[in-house]
């Protein structure tokens, strides 16, 4: 594969996969800068071995796995780093926005984030890939290296856990 073909193929993968992986990484890390860094690192890794992938689909599954791992690594690193500040982090801050709707929305976002945060990695990854990556069970299985039936169970368990953590009716849905 010459340099020009390599760059064209890489650009094609980037355009197709970036919108998925950035969402996945953002919803795991909850930090846009971190998500961008994670995606950047993953794509640079991909560029160095892009000729090993026969098609966009293979590169997609590989990338999703790498992005997922890097995002969880980041999260773990941040958790250790911020353990001392955890209490401060959860003190509600006063904002200028006093609109009831905005307040409810913020509260709901906070609850959803907390609920997602409490999910273990093996449940969080499939539900994020399903909800934000728009991937079907087969694709999720290929990306995470698990069977389709395993994906089905994990997604169901994630929903079950979220249902308990987010009592439906209490959470504001716009």
């Amino acid at each position: 594969m010459d340099d020009k073909t390599k760059k064209t193929f890489f650009e094609k993968i980037y355009n197709e996969i970036f919108p998925i992986v950035i969402k996945v990484s953002y919803h795991i890390t909850k930090d846009m800068d971190a998500a961008q860094d994670v995606c950047q690192d993953a794509f640079i890794k991909l560029y160095h071995r892009v000729e090993n992938f026969p098609g966009v689909e293979d590169a997609k599954f590989w990338l999703i796995r790498v992005v997922k791992n890097l995002s969880f690594n980041y999260l773990e690193h941040e958790k250790v780093k911020n353990r001392a500040f955890d209490k401060m982090k959860h003190i509600p801050s006063f904002t200028d926005d006093t609109g009831e709707k905005q307040l409810l929305k913020k509260e709901a976002e906070e609850k959803v984030n907390q609920a997602l945060e409490q999910l273990p990695e093996n449940l969080k990854a499939p539900i994020i890939l399903r909800e934000f990556g728009g991937m079907n069970y087969k694709e999720i299985g290929a990306a995470l290296g698990i069977s389709e039936s395993n994906v089905k169970i994990r997604i169901f368990r994630a929903r079950e856990a979220l249902g308990k953590l987010l009592p439906v009716g209490e959470v504001y849905v716009p």
Partner: protein
């Protein structure tokens, strides 16, 4: 009988096989309990998606530019080769000329080396009796390069000079003046 929530979850994601999907759909359409469960699944999904998302399009452009910058820098670094690792090209005629010149210099130095060895083998000191040695050299061709075959006759004493560690000429003058005084 109501289907398991796990099946409803798959039904919600449209992941059931055609035959199963039809059965579940018929049931859910007529079962208020399953309809409630389906609504709950919908609410969970809506709650997850309720959060306002950042500008991913902007991130796509920025990240692409960053990646290209990094790759370009890496490629530039890779092409910059250390002086001692650099490859150089030389044309065939130039290489042949170099080899020929090297051979010429080598053969010239070998010839001069052996010729020099022949000429330096006859010492020029007048005090040494060389007649026997040169005869041996001329007569014995086999021992031409054998230095042990050369014999020198070094006289035990040199007349008129006294060895006293001083220049001999001055010593002789001193000797004469001393004689005169006497």
């Amino acid at each position: 009988m109501c289907p398991d929530v796990e099946i409803l979850s798959s039904f919600y994601d449209d992941e059931l096989e055609d035959s199963q999907r039809q059965i579940v759909k018929t049931h859910v359409d007529s079962c208020p309990h399953c309809q409630k469960k389906m609504a709950e699944l919908g609410l969970i999904s809506a709650a997850i998606h309720a959060e306002e998302e950042p500008d991913f399009q902007m991130a796509k452009v920025n990240t692409w530019n960053n990646i290209m910058d990094i790759i370009d820098r890496e490629e530039q670094k890779a092409t910059k080769v250390n002086f001692w690792q650099r490859r150089f090209q030389i044309s065939f005629p130039a290489a042949a000329a170099l080899v020929a010149a090297f051979i010429a210099v080598l053969s010239f130095s070998v010839i001069t080396f052996y010729m020099g060895k022949h000429t330096t083998s006859s010492p020029a000191s007048p005090e040494l009796n060389m007649t026997d040695a040169s005869d041996t050299l001329l007569n014995d061709d086999d021992n031409i390069f054998d230095s042990s075959a050369i014999e020198f006759d070094i006289p035990a004493t040199i007349s008129n000079f006294v060895h006293a560690g001083e220049p001999l000429l001055i010593k002789e003058v001193d000797f004469r003046s001393n004689n005169g005084k006497k």
